[in-house]
Amino acid sequence: MMQPATDQPDSEHAPRARWEIAVLLLVGLASGFAVGGLLGGLLGAPLGGWLLKSAEPGAGVISGVKNGFIILGALGGLAGLVWGARSRFNPQTRRKLRRFYAIKRGYVSFVLLIAAFAISLIGEVFVNNRALLVSYEGKLFCPVSPFSRAYTGKEFGLEKDRAGQDYTFEVNYRELADDFSKNKSGNWVLMPLVPFNEYENDFREGLVHPSKPNVEMQHYLGTDRTGRDVLARLFYGFRITMIFALVFMLMVYLIGVVIGCLMGYFGGWVDLAGQRAVEVWQNIPFLYMVIIVVAAVSDLPFTLPAWFKILVLLAIMVVFSWTSMTYYMRTAVYREKARDYVAAAELLGASTPRILFNHLLPNTISTMVTFMPFTVATAIISITALDYLNFGLPKPTPSWGELLQQGVANLHAPWIVLSAFGAMVLVLTLVTFIGEGVREAFDPKKFTTYE
């Protein structure tokens, strides 16, 4: 993160610091994408089902959700960027952020986690069985690019693979590299650091799975029962878990904050009815609902792609988790709306949405921010637990819960359980440090500053 400028005056019209612009852009992008994606997914389902006629049942709904999510998500992200570029923090928030920067443990954890997440987003460059670059007879190939297709062995002059099969399928780049170096033909292959992907079974001679961490075979954390690289699964598991947790958090806050705001602002019957509804909703056992819905989804007469099942899981978790946020939001709004500036805005004739989103929200949201890291931690734990219980991500999606489960069942191969457990402890510790830092920085009772 950029260095916050401490010498900036906290005035309304002073130019914004660069770090402030960056944070605002990031926040704008993320929340814009979340709002847009949610709306797009919800709208896309019926629209796609109605508009797209396909030979396969359900395909319309599925592609509606997908396209709606992508299009409206992108639009929302853009809108968020614009918003981010145009808005500024109020002086209080700026001070809080600066205080967070001063809490080194939290700040360093934050930077580490964001960096790890950023690396995982372009993880194919680091952990992959597709080569970064292949030079074959003077031509350069870049199989790792997301726009690349699967090159067959025949395209690189191999007729049969090592098992003697016709090489009309994607070439094994490790074997290709081996072949090239043996033939000394001047062709070469540049492999990523970890030359395995998260699904591939490594059935080379001399490996009995699960096999120990082995630098020579490039399985740095060993393999699991079916010869998949533990590091690759851990790495992509991290990516999926983080995306899942972040999207989960954004969605939960979005719904919780909006409903809480409305309940607090309108009060009276709206509040009373809303609270009772929330109480009823809260008492529906979450785990049973997950089990029921997961069973129902797999019982549909048509095939759902894996990502759609992940989305369904996410939706169920969000739908049953937003309730607790409303309580905090509602009380914060109750407190704030009695203040003079709200009355002033009302007197000036500001519309209800304007009061809600321009005046009340910025002043109440800071309470919510302190909860965010802990929500992320909860989401990571929930998804891992659900995976462990077989109600989580569809197989064979890489996931920590699945690794933990395998590890516990194969204690004679301790590298599996240790890797998963270690990664989990590390990430949760980082998230907790961030959470503590944020809480401390945003504590309204704080008088001392950390400067």
């Binding site: 030979a55 067959t152 098992a163 016709d166 009309t168 399928f169 059935f203 029962r225 797999s298």
Partner: protein
């Protein structure tokens, strides 16, 4: 089928059998001596003099008192001690039979006068050729020693001790019934032929639908009552009763299938089956005698009344109420002076004095207790047990304390296979199906996931001896051939991800469903390998019940699973491969004039035709096969059917394990050659024994840290088929 009970056991689930074995160490003092306080109703007064009966009853009462007193003081009587009534020989044969049952039962017999016939010895056909199986070889070992307690485990406490009705098909029933009780004749487990059970002689009628039996006059139930011919009448009353709440039995023993039982004298009866099947004797011997003196008549209270009462049986082990520790353990004890104790085929078997079966719910704990010698054996079928948890260099193995055994048996194999739903729009194309056959790399699954332990299954029915196909082989993994077949079906374009597409852009992608969580590794490896052939498989591992519901409603595309098979002489084709079990419409509406399957038919739920195989020629042949009464004809038809189903391509054979593996403590001793050919697990035929001297010495050795002998890892492949 071999016996009725075997089928029933198979219904529970084959794999229970593999996993459920072994038990914990028990507290020897707690093991009570059997007393004669058998649960249940008072036995009906025998035909003999009243005084004798009264005296016997009195003696039993004393014995009961005595046993209770002993139990209170935790005293164990020496093995073989008295306290029981000696077996008395019944009156000589030839005496006429008189029906003397409860009113309701008599009414039942009278309502079916043709089914229950009391005849005289003179009514027996004179030209009967009586057989007694005396030419067959015994399969126990004369070296066997009696005595000791054998320790096994069960994963859960049996919910009932009833042998029929709700919850009765639990795994514990096989210990009370299938592996224990005697039927009229027993199939010899080392090949063809039958040896005596409750009957000492038998003969076939000319049309081979009826079998005549002469009961062994020594045959007794565990409560000392003799087995009477009228118990077979009662058996059909029992199994057809609605009070047992067992519709499967009601159907299996229906009056259509068992049209007649005739008794000729006190020890002679005949049972008629509706078809002259080659193995008709196994089907009629499946009628188990039901002790009428124990039940007398049934009412709607049957299920509750007999929930935890042990039905007196004809086998060597019984469950006495004092040996049932609810929720913890059940101990089976040997019937004192068991009637067949000294008879050929039985004298060297059923050696342990007691079998204690303890509840251990956690599989990891079961194995730990085995390593602590509290269980006498543990199955080592899974590679992780054989290679990792008890490797050959494990200290218990190298010190000779625990022996490892691999035994090749020869029984029909569970059908682990992929079944393609051929009513699916894409899978209805034969080229796609055959292409998928070539796209499934079971060889790598066997070599890498199962570490080369099992072998590839080749046909829909492996392991039926002469009825198996000698040459037919499953299609091997071949990218080239798979793609050739897919191309024929129009899948010629390759997408960016390497998955094939047809001209319309439809990807070659299928949902791949299984109810078995433990097969996850198999599924993911098959998925990765199938990508090479341009096929995408979406793995779907569902919860058991939900998955079977989906599959039996034919909503699946491709499923991986197995159907249970019984040990019988010829495979069944109608249930899994006949269009009767695929579509609701009557047969004539399923096919058009050219014999092609019509479109828009309604799939039939809750049947076993998971391939949705509907082919007119296969249907016709299965119908002929079902009514075939000649063994050679049957064999030819079975082979032809296997070829036709292979050609259809909707069944992709998976793997078979032609053996079982076990580890056992060295004091468990075995006959030469270890076990019998048709055993599915080591303890099924009770040929082992416990050598208490060796046990004592081993325990001393372990305490002293000495080796007891050389490491023993044995492979018995005398029954290996290839």
């Amino acid at each position: 089928m071999k016996t009725l009970s075997k089928i029933l056991f198979k219904r529970i689930g084959l794999f229970l059998a593999v996993t459920l074995l072994a038990l914990t160490g028990c507290n020897e003092q707690k093991l009570k001596r059997p007393t004669d306080a058998g649960g249940g109703k008072k036995p009906a007064a025998p035909a003999g003099g009243m005084d004798k009966a009264f005296a016997r009853e009195l003696a039993r009462e004393f014995a009961r008192e005595f046993a209770r007193e002993l139990a209170k003081q935790n005293i164990t009587l020496p093995a073989g001690g008295g306290g029981t009534t000696p077996v008395e020989p019944v009156t000589p044969t030839g005496a006429a039979v008189e029906l003397n049952s409860a009113e309701e039962v008599m009414d039942f017999y009278e309502a079916h006068p043709k089914a229950f016939v009391v005849a005289t010895p003179a009514d027996l056909p004179t030209n009967l050729q009586w057989e007694n199986g005396s030419e067959l070889k015994e399969f126990g070992s004369p070296k066997a020693k009696r005595g000791g307690t054998f320790h096994e485990y069960m994963a859960d406490f049996p919910r009932t001790l009833r042998l029929v009705g709700p919850d009765a098909s639990g795994s514990f029933r096989s210990r009370m019934l299938d592996y224990n009780s005697l039927s009229l004749v027993m199939a010899h487990p080392n090949g063809d032929g039958y040896h005596p059970g409750l009957a000492k002689e038998w003969a076939y009628s000319a049309d081979r639908k009826t079998v005549y039996f002469r009961l062994d006059s020594d045959a007794r139930y565990s409560d000392g009552e003799p087995v009477r011919v009228t118990d077979y009448f009662f058996s059909l009353y029992f199994f057809r009763s609605e009070h047992i709440k067992g519709p499967w039995y009601n159907d299996f023993f229906s009056k259509e299938k068992f049209p007649n039982i005739t008794v000729y004298d006190e020890h002679t009866l005949s049972i008629t089956y509706y078809k002259a099947k080659p193995d008709v004797i196994e089907r009629v011997a499946g009628v188990r005698p039901i002790p009428e003196h124990f039940y007398s008549e049934l009412d709607e209270q049957f299920v509750e009344d007999f929930q935890f009462k042990f039905e007196p049986n004809t086998g060597p082990y019984e469950v006495r109420p004092e040996n049932v520790e609810k929720g913890k353990a059940v101990t089976l004890t040997r019937v004192p002076n068991w009637w067949a104790d000294k008879k050929k085929f039985y004298r060297y078997r059923f050696n342990p004095e007691a079998v204690k079966v303890t509840v251990i719910r956690e599989p990891a704990k079961v194995f730990e207790l085995f390593l602590k010698s509290e269980l006498d054996w543990h199955g080592l079928g899974l590679p992780e047990y054989w290679y990792e948890k008890l490797p050959n260099d494990h200290k218990l193995v190298t010190a000779g304390y625990v022996h490892k055994v691999q035994f090749y048996n020869d029984v029909p194999r569970p059908t682990w296979a992929l079944r393609l739903n051929s009513s699916h729009p894409v899978l209805s194309n034969r080229d796609v199906r055959v292409g998928l056959n070539y796209a499934m790399n079971f060889d790598v699954v066997i070599a890498k996931v199962f570490r080369g332990d099992p072998v590839r299954m080749n046909t829909v029915a492996d392991g039926y001896g002469p009825r198996s196909h000698p040459t037919l082989k499953a299609r091997p993994f071949s990218v080239k051939k798979a793609k050739e077949h897919f191309a024929k079906a129009g899948y010629t374009r390759t997408g960016a991800d390497g998955i094939l597409m047809n001209a319309g852009g439809k990807r070659l992608s299928f949902t791949f469903t299984t109810p078995y969580k433990r097969l996850e590794d198999v599924m993911t490896v098959l998925k990765e390998e199938a990508k090479k052939a341009g096929v995408e498989l979406e793995v779907e591992i569902m919860e058991r019940t939900a998955a079977w519901k989906k599959i039996s409603e034919k909503n699946h595309e491709i499923m991986l699973g197995a159907l249970n098979v019984s040990v019988e002489i010829a495979p069944r084709f109608w249930e899994p491969y006949h269009s009767d079990n695929a579509y609701e419409e009557p047969k004539e509406e399923r096919y058009d004039a050219q014999g092609r399957l019509r479109e828009g038919l309604k799939p039939k739920p809750v049947t076993n035709n998971f391939c949705m195989l509907a082919d007119k020629d296969i249907d016709d042949l299965i119908e002929k096969y079902r009514v075939s009464e000649d063994l050679d004809e049957l064999t030819g038809q079975a082979k032809r059917l296997m070829e036709m189903i292979h050609a259809h391509g909707s069944f992709i054979p998976g793997w078979v394990r032609p053996w079982y593996r076990a580890g056992h403590w060295r004091w468990i001793q075995w006959p030469e050659g270890y076990n019998v050919k048709e055993s599915r697990e080591p303890y099924e035929f009770h040929v082992h024994w416990i050598d208490s001297d060796i046990k004592a010495k081993t325990i001393q050795d372990m305490a002293a840290g000495r080796k007891s002998g050389a490491a023993t890892i044995q492979v018995f492949d005398q029954y290996k088929t290839d």
